[in-house]
Symmetry: C2
């Protein structure tokens, strides 16, 4: 069934007021007619099966489904060049990420404009719909990396920083141990092209981030967060079996 | 240090005859001068540190390094639309894949041309160089999916088929059990947009493929093989710690 993400104000009792682009999508793109059903989700965890009518959408019933991980995952991603961050949003949304915090590190070349953020949010919405999630990941505004480490310092949750060419143990070693205790949140930071510089790694360690490896090979800035997220969701979903 | 992949015939005793595009890359793109060193690898497991000279490359010594997984991984990938397979080659090469077998399934829309294959091979070479691997993954020519299952039927190694909306256990459950015995090879098949059809899944099971899940969410055709490869290399590299 087709899915759309709605804003809270669109739901009024058992009616959903469709926005014009949603109406266009449902009637013209996926070609639903009056009387046919779709799924509306508020991106915060609630979903409804809805019938398309002339008035918009009539809620038929609440949908009880949960494809979310039972842990809140924040990926802190040093922005890669070009449109790389868009691929990261797509893939990690499918894999269950909750928050993406783009950061500007010493080696970051990209200077994202304000309308980039709107595009990123739109990609997160589309990917959440396609992957049939209940929650739309929150894409934060980019901040300097040192500020991000400092803000996260006081959070007493598992925090990792992925480093290439390191002797640090593999992330998977930590996950199988740390996620067993069912922490409510977890954070992992991945670098951009050329990796973190020494100051950044030191600052991360001083902010109680654990250095981890994502394997012996050198991953691109796009591949690293997808790999980390694959491992996190894999461990979470086998722990719960 | 910069890396290039050479053909076997380019190495003659302690000399490496550079091809014109390799010479161009080393001298014009990364701007090496005579007397500066780079790494030449044959893509089959051997690497040498080489000095750039007017005669081409003079081998200084053999490099003993190994960033390869201690298992041979074949990904059988139903070709996604557009250039999606190129992203799959890039990411999974970085993650240590050995062979990519593109297959044409019932829902495959792409009809790849012959020169696509050359482009795919080139991407595998570049990704192997960038991720500092010793081996260039072999990209096979696309074949019909049923033929691929039948050919692989007799191989007595762990074989998996990733299926969406399934009750099958997560791939990670099988990996932690099956890779513990150190099999020499492993195969995993992932579908294209819309997934496998029922016949394909039945045929895979009849060919001794194990149905597996890659998590509760619906992954795109591009994300599924990257996720599978992340899990395989993660388990292999923590088993060996």
């Amino acid at each position: 069934m087709y899915r759309i993400v709605i804003y809270p104000h669109q739901k009024q009792d058992s009616l959903i007021n469709l926005l014009s682009d949603q109406e266009h999508y449902l009637r013209r793109v996926v070609r639903l007619n009056n009387g046919q059903n779709f799924i509306a989700m508020d991106g915060k965890g609630y979903s409804w099966e809805v019938k398309l009518t002339d008035k918009g959408g009539e809620i038929i019933h609440v949908i009880e489904e949960n494809r979310e991980l039972s842990i809140e995952v924040t990926l802190m991603v040093a922005l890669p060049k070009g449109n790389g961050f868009e691929d990261i949003i797509r893939c990690t949304t499918e894999l269950g990420v909750n928050k993406l915090q783009p950061v500007i590190s010493h080696r970051t070349l990209l200077k994202p404009s304000e309308n980039k953020w709107e595009r990123w949010h739109k990609i997160a919405v589309e990917s959440a719909e396609q992957s049939e999630r209940q929650i739309v990941p929150y894409i934060a505004k980019p901040i300097p990396v040192m500020e991000a480490f400092t803000t996260m310092k006081k959070l007493n949750i598992p925090k990792y920083i992925a480093v290439a060419r390191t002797d640090a143990p593999h992330l998977l070693n930590f996950l199988t141990r740390d996620l067993w205790d069912s922490p409510s949140q977890i954070i992992i930071a991945t670098g951009c092209e050329g990796g973190w510089n020494t100051d950044e790694i030191q600052w991360a360690i001083a902010s109680n981030f654990q250095e981890v490896s994502l394997g012996k090979r050198i991953l691109r800035a796009i591949t690293a967060p997808i790999t980390a997220m694959s491992l996190i969701s894999g461990v979470m979903e086998t722990n719960n079996k």
